[in-house]
Amino acid sequence: MAEPVVGSRPRTVLGLGDDRPVTWLAMIRVLVGSRLRSQLAYRTSLALDLFSQAFLVASEFIEIWVLLVHAPVLGGMTLSQAALVYVCSQFGFGLADLLFGELENAGDFVKQGRLETLLVRPTSLLTQLVTTDFQLRRLGRVLVGVIAYPWLLVATVDDWTAAKVGLAVIAPLGGAGIFTGLQVWAGAFTMVVVDGKQASNAVMYGGKFASGVPGGALFTPVRVFFTFVAPTLLSAWLPMAVVSGAGLPHGWPAWLGWLSPVAALVVWATGLVAWGRAIRHYTGAGG
């Protein structure tokens, strides 16, 4: 008879019953829960990380603020309207970065040979990569959005309608959808072009920067690229222009402000095709 075991036997995880079948959601809870426990063990470090993320969001806004202090209108928007665009963009990007930010490191998994250990598990590679290094510190940007976005909406918009309320709710969620879809694209790209992180970051972080400024101020080809190719301008500038009543450049219809969920669906659908191809490329090339 074996001796009773000492040490740390795994407990029933996060309330999972011993007899209940493990659903996909329950699995995600276990995967993310393990990451959270690991990070919550170093609370001071986590608090500092959260604070520095939030501080980064504020400090990045300084350049827009400086511009608008000297010129009352930038790209057809006032300071408070530009601030609304910036915060809405950060909110959407922050949600995406919290959930899918790890995907930009897919190329590192290939380089280090760690992808092979993930491929011999019965869980999708995308789910594993997203949850393997879930970083709670990325919550800092989201917290800024949660606090500042409603406050700026109330402070900036006077003539609320049901449609505007709907658009204000949809915008950061659609933005998160667009950015997560772009992250799937970035993950697929870096799995194929292992050293391609700089190139994918240029689109991802370039798009994030562009989405946080009044798009009317952008050079037209840049504005077109980040509206119709990597559609990050649909995540904040266009919807917030509609919500706040700011003017759009000539020829840019207001209904573009409502397109972020559609754009998110398109980016996701094409991103998943690219992701499937990237896995086939990896299994075809042997890593």
Binding site: G7, P10, D19, P21, V22, R37, S38, L119, V120
Partner: protein, 324 residues
């Protein structure tokens, strides 16, 4: 059959030369591999670096698409059914960890079990057995990064077995381990196979792993099977010579034996100790009978050729045949 490979081949495409004069070079890593493994067997898969061992494992597990030929693992086509296959196999990569580096060892198993969608009533009893048999209890609370290599490897094996797979694939599982850790791991694997019928497919550089764990060995060289059989068959195929040492009651004069053809008496300084070298088809019993007919035998010892010598012979032969 739990593994079936027929005419399996894999090429790697390399690009050589300068940036402006890049050449596409196709290099076969594996070519025409025929391999079948019955459920419950233990097979040692041997080969030098670059012989095609890892390529084979990648194709068996669905990580790599074959260039040619067919492969079935647990009856499944590995690449298109990779995730389904993952439920039926366990893989231990000696130099890559399946465990969560920053978590206590014990926390990796609920995560892996959740990935396999196993409820607690299935995985917990199995885990308890693995903890006891692999003696993990003393360090379940230790973060994986702080474990010794031997402790981590036992943890890796438990991680590969927590979902009770039919086939366990071990890629260099004892690399870097000390003798005690190696022996403990081998002892566990023998028991796992005996008690649960788990098929073992093992690649290693350490031939003592194969001797302890496997009744069959497959040696590959430059992407092809150079030998497939038991250790005894390997000795027969290579014509390896065994040595019979016989202590006899003797006078001062050295004894000159009349031996069957193929056996050779080696010179010794001690007249009371005779040494005879022979190879298959002669047997130790036959040679001993011949010696006993001529001397009074006091004691005997039989020295087998080392497995390293046998495998070395196979490689030398393969090398000569590839040059001719």
């Amino acid at each position: 059959m739990i593994i079936e490979a027929k005419e399996l081949g894999r090429d790697y495409v390399l690009h050589e030369g300068s940036l402006w004069r890049r050449r596409r070079v196709v290099k076969p890593a594996l070519d025409g591999l025929d391999l079948t493994v019955e459920a419950g067997a233990a097979v040692g898969y041997l080969g030098a670096n670059g012989a095609g061992k890892s390529t084979t494992i990648k194709m068996l597990t669905g990580i790599l698409t074959p260039t040619r030929g067919q492969v079935r693992t647990c009856g499944l086509d590995p690449v298109p059914r990779r995730r389904e296959l993952a439920r039926q196999i366990g893989v231990v990569f000696g130099q890559r960890s399946q465990l969560w580096w920053d978590l206590p060892l014990g926390e990796s198993y609920p995560i892996l079990s959740a990935m396999h969608r196993l409820p607690g009533r299935i995985w917990k009893p199995r885990f308890d057995t693995l903890v006891d048999e692999l003696d993990l209890s003393g360090f379940l609370g230790t973060p994986v990064r702080q474990l010794s290599l031997g402790q981590r490897m036992r943890g890796e094996v438990a991680a590969a077995l927590v979902h009770s797979p039919d086939l366990l694939i071990l890629d260099e599982p004892t690399i870097g381990l000390d003798m005690l850790s190696k022996e403990r791991l081998r002892h566990f694997l023998v028991r796992e196979r005996t008690e649960r019928g788990t098929t073992l497919f093992l690649t290693t550089h350490d031939l003592s792993d194969v001797q302890r764990l496997c009744e069959r060995m497959v040696i590959i060289d430059r992407g092809r099977v150079a030998f497939d059989g038991t250790e005894a068959e390997l000795a027969a195929v290579t014509g390896a010579r065994r040595r019979l040492v016989v202590d006899v009651v003797a006078d001062d004069e050295p004894v000159l034996l009349d031996l069957p053809a193929g056996a050779e008496q080696l010179p010794t300084d001690d007249a009371s100790r005779l040494q005879v070298e022979f190879a298959s088809p002669l047997t130790a019993a036959g040679v001993l009978a011949a010696v006993q007919a001529q001397c009074s035998v006091v004691d005997i010892a039989l020295t087998e050729p080392t497995i390293e010598e046998l495998v070395g012979t196979i490689y030398r032969r393969a090398s000569i045949s590839s040059r001719t």
